[in-house]
Symmetry: C2
Subunit: 210 residues, 2 copies
């Protein structure tokens, strides 16, 4: 199933996919070293949504929730930090006025999520680094949103888990947890459209270019 393996090319040959930085290319790789690759998620679920892919073939197909031991985490820590800094830089660039009240640490702590999905779909191990606005046209349904806003999302600091999460239980968590605004926790039950409109309001209240 080829779509599952779409991330592998970036792991094996990141140098072939390096973004030019001229703004109108669609090459995704932003950073790489011998241990990890940082790239733009092709279907970003927020204003900034990056993937950090560990490169070693021996671990790429293991479950991230158990394979991301402290030792493995250490090997990609530089890439993770690069991604977090990049996220902040993107917001500073796009919304300089709104970001004046944040410093790097405060912004990252309060507004950047780092972690993995309980049940990934893509075969190659990857870590999500994503801004918590969830303001994006690619965020299209409840599963997208709840995969980052429920226990389905396993934060970096809680890794590794002792055993891989149960798939059925994880599915129920996604399906049955009511949608809650990531800013104010307001409960939208299963009203995804209403949540989207509210997230749009929240975003424009928090960030603007003027």
């Amino acid at each position: 199933m080829a779509w599952m393996d779409a991330l592998n090319r970036y792991r094996e040959h990141p140098e072939r996919y390096v973004a030019h930085g001229d703004g109108d290319d669609d090459l995704p790789v932003l950073y790489f070293d011998s241990d990890a690759v940082v790239l733009r998620d092709m279907f970003p679920k927020a204003t900034v949504h990056l993937l950090v892919i560990p490169r070693p073939a021996e671990i790429t197909f293991r479950h991230p929730a158990v394979a991301l031991t402290r030792e493995v985490q250490d090997t990609i820590q530089l890439a993770i930090q690069w991604a977090k800094n990049y996220t902040f830089a993107q917001f500073v660039d796009q919304f300089p006025e709104s970001l004046s009240s944040y410093d790097l640490q405060k912004f990252i702590t309060e507004f950047v999520l780092v972690g993995v999905h309980s049940v990934p779909s893509m075969s190659n191990m990857h870590v999500h680094v994503i801004s918590r606005d969830f303001h994006s046209p690619s965020l299209k349904h409840k599963k997208h949103y709840n995969s980052f806003n429920t226990a389905f999302f396993v934060p970096w600091d809680q890794l590794p888990l002792e055993s891989p999460p149960d798939k059925t239980q994880a599915e129920l968590t996604i399906k049955n947890t009511p949608l809650k605004c990531s800013y104010c926790r307001r409960d939208f039950r299963n009203k995804f459209k209403a949540l989207k409109e509210h997230l749009d309001e929240e975003f424009h209240n928090h960030f603007n270019k003027s």
Copy 2:
């Protein structure tokens, strides 16, 4: 709720709504006497779909499954028979070649359903007389189809029942019974669109104007 009472005008004043028979009027009443009115269903679920409405005010709001006693049935029997004959005549008129293998009795027995819904929505008591092709643009979802093709439909010959059917049970029957072709019993599970396409094929295999 006015929509529930839409049939009442035909019960009270059938003479105001008599079809001209010139083909391009939308007046629905085809026959009436002092006991009953026969009219075209406004949203026909098959090629011919008629309603027979008993006229007495004393029984019009009672549940048809229990109020259509043998005595009441007798009073509208003429109208019922008129509707069955009309259904046959319509098919003979539209598909003379295809109908040559049928006589009136065979056609009515095999291809005309007469009965009531376990849980009617329209307030005024009415009996459905409908051809079993279910080939109509107004047949738009599973509920429409299963309301004539499951135990939700109570045939004329089984009336009256001892007590009104349980609403919840009737709803489950509609929802959970798989869709089966009324001609060949083929099972379409919950695939309504596929059933529609198959019914279209069946119809054109059984009936054509050439």
